[in-house]
């Protein structure tokens, strides 16, 4: 009876929010994925409190240990605690994912908005450059840019951000082209709004939702790209903990101590999977036509 009363007093905005959340959390994998992301974020933010050991302290008397009570995931070739390095690795992976997606999103959306709204030669130049970037494989372009910028967390974020940028530019341009034909944009023009104001105030807000979905999906791609670059030795500088570099280091001891390479890989898979599943759910929740199609 009480629940019914509460349901009745929901405002339309609250109703929409409830419907969105119900659709978003409709399936079990999404709830698991959301939980994994939440745990990873807590580990990344509170790494110094959560990690049982210092991830950089070497203990050569304790190297290549198996799983035990003292070292839950064992130790690496330098005697560093693997669990602590994985917890700190979450910090690197999540920050690379988040910052590179922010860089790619903000620059890509700005370029797409300019191309779509201003059109003519500006559109042609921007989109042909984006096409050219997309015709070079991501790994190779990332290796190029990574080599120029050099190793390190900040440079990897920038590198992956640049590589992922064309996707946002393309998507935003498409959105802008369809939105700018709508009546309210024309009304804005007639009422004397400047081109800048019209683009930013009237068109841009309509391009955010699909880009947000793309960003959620790209978080996983960014984490995978960082892991790949670190595996190739072109990623984050050692001794900073990175899941990709940990897999690469563990490869040398694969025959005797496979857990050193396997465990960090499982964390990459879990995190990327969680972001992909949540990205799919976000897209389905924002576009009801696609519900359950992926």
């Amino acid at each position: 009876m009480k629940k019914e009363k509460e349901a009745k007093v929901l405002t339309p905005a609250q109703e929409r929010r409830k419907q969105f959340l119900d659709t978003f959390f409709a399936t079990i994998p999404v709830r698991i994925g959301f939980g994994i992301i939440a745990v990873m974020i807590v580990c990344a933010v509170f790494a110094p409190l959560v990690a049982p050991y210092d991830p950089y302290t070497q203990d050569l008397t304790n190297m290549l240990q198996g799983m035990s009570g003292a070292h839950f995931f064992g130790t690496d070739a330098l005697g560093r605690d693997l669990l602590s390095r994985i917890i700190y690795g979450a910090r690197a992976s999540l920050s690379v994912g988040l910052v590179s997606t922010l860089i790619a999103g903000s620059v890509g959306i700005a370029l797409g908005l300019m191309a779509g709204y201003l059109g003519k030669w500006i559109d042609a130049v921007i989109m042909r450059v984006m096409d050219a970037m997309m015709s070079i494989p991501v790994v190779i372009l990332a290796l190029f840019i990574g080599s120029i910028l050099g190793k390190g967390l900040g440079n990897i974020m920038l590198c992956i951000g640049i590589v992922m940028m064309p996707g946002y530019a393309r998507m935003t341009r498409g959105q802008v082209l369809s939105v700018k034909q709508l009546d309210y944009v024309t009304a804005g023009k007639i009422s004397g709004a400047t081109r800048m104001k019209n683009a930013v105030k009237h068109i841009l807000p309509n391009c955010i939702a699909p880009n947000l979905v793309l960003a959620t999906m790209n978080l996983g791609t960014a984490i995978l790209t960082e892991a790949g670059l670190s595996y190739l030795g072109m990623g984050i500088n050692p001794p900073t903990a990175s899941w990709g570099a940990m897999v690469s280091d563990g490869y040398r001891y694969l025959q005797e101590y496979p857990h050193i390479a396997i465990i960090p890989g499982i964390f990459i898979i879990l995190t990327v999977w969680a972001f992909n599943v949540c990205g799919d759910a976000l897209r389905d929740a924002t576009d009801p036509r696609l519900r359950g199609t992926r």
């Binding site: 494989p137 290796l143 190029f144 595996y231 190739l232 990459i268 359950g292």
Partner: protein, 314 residues
């Protein structure tokens, strides 16, 4: 249609031109001197100056760019600084091993991906759909180098069924050639297989909800005819249009796979060339890959421009 083909061709040429500018510009932004890297720390200034002149690196950048492009028009790719041989020869030596991995992976990922996509879409909501979709989702999230390592551990180190690393040409031993390629092909196939499965499934589900499928069913056609003749043919359009990008992704993927399995292919060559700043190798290999992607995209677009007038108009 002629206007459409002409426009797409023009756009492709512009894209290829921009690729050459980007690659040339990025290469020359790389820190370090390639001649110094090649000769080592003990090289004298005279030696460095001699080799710099030999490779034409003493010329201004616009001159070097024009020389490179001019050479490409004549079918020349210059000399590799690291390997001291013609880049074209180097590429031809390496391309066989790369194609031995990428071609089967491309075909397998496409065929199996489409089959699994059809199965999941026709069993929507059932256990089989949930199982295959979940596996595909995990497949997309799995780094290729990690799955490669797991295979090496199981089939190479523990069961000893397959060689851990290396490449033996077909001409030397056909059976060893196949054994060497099994794991690299599986690794390269898995990621693309997963994305093809997801793409086919979503595309099929969108098509299946269309009115003409309902009409086909109400005409009394068998489910097999409806699925394969009516639905799949239309659902394949977005998959085939993505094939150009898949070619690039597969070729890019060889950088990691060839490094992991120690295959002397184009991907491994690229990694070494970027580290050593081997200008001509990096520029030409990237150019060849980008041209392959652009040509694939162009052919697919033209093909579908013919088949589907909606694409032509867009």
């Amino acid at each position: 249609m002629g206007k459409y083909v002409f426009k797409r061709l023009g756009q492709s040429l512009i894209v290829v031109f921009i690729v050459t500018v980007i690659v040339f510009g990025l290469m020359h932004l790389l820190p370090g001197d390639p001649i110094q890297i090649y000769l080592g720390d003990t090289a004298t200034e005279e030696q460095i100056a001699y080799y710099t002149k030999q490779f034409g690196l003493d010329q201004p950048l616009p001159v070097q760019y024009i020389r490179w492009i001019g050479g490409l028009f004549k079918g020349e790719m210059g000399r590799s600084i690291t390997y001291s041989i013609d880049v074209k020869e180097l590429l031809l030596r390496r391309v066989a091993s790369t194609l031995s991995v990428t071609f089967p992976a491309f075909v397998l990922a496409l065929l199996i991906g489409i089959c699994l996509g059809v199965i999941t879409s026709t069993h929507r909501g059932r256990t089989l759909d949930s199982l295959l979709t979940s596996i595909a989702n995990v497949g997309i999230a799995t780094p290729a180098f990690w799955i490669g390592m797991i295979l090496v551990y199981i089939f190479g180190l523990k069961l000893k069924w397959l060689p851990v690393q290396g490449y033996i040409p077909f001409s030397e031993s056909p059976s060893d050639y196949i054994k060497c390629l099994v794991m690299p092909v599986i690794v390269l196939t898995l990621g693309h297989l997963s994305s093809n499965t997801r793409q086919t499934r979503s595309s099929m589900l969108e098509v299946i909800s269309q009115d003409y499928i309902r009409t086909a069913r109400s005409k009394g056609l068998s489910e097999k005819t409806v699925v394969y003749k009516h639905a799949l043919r239309n659902a394949l359009i977005p998959i085939v249009t993505m094939m150009g990008g898949a070619v690039g992704a597969l070729l890019g993927g060889t950088v990691v796979i060839e490094n992991l399995f120690n295959i002397p292919g184009v991907g491994a060559l690229m990694l070494t060339a970027i580290i050593n700043k081997d200008y001509m190798v990096v520029q030409n290999v990237t150019f060849v890959i980008a041209v392959a992607v652009v040509i694939c995209n162009l052919l697919i677009d033209i093909l579908y421009g013919y088949i589907d007038p909606r694409i032509r108009v867009e």
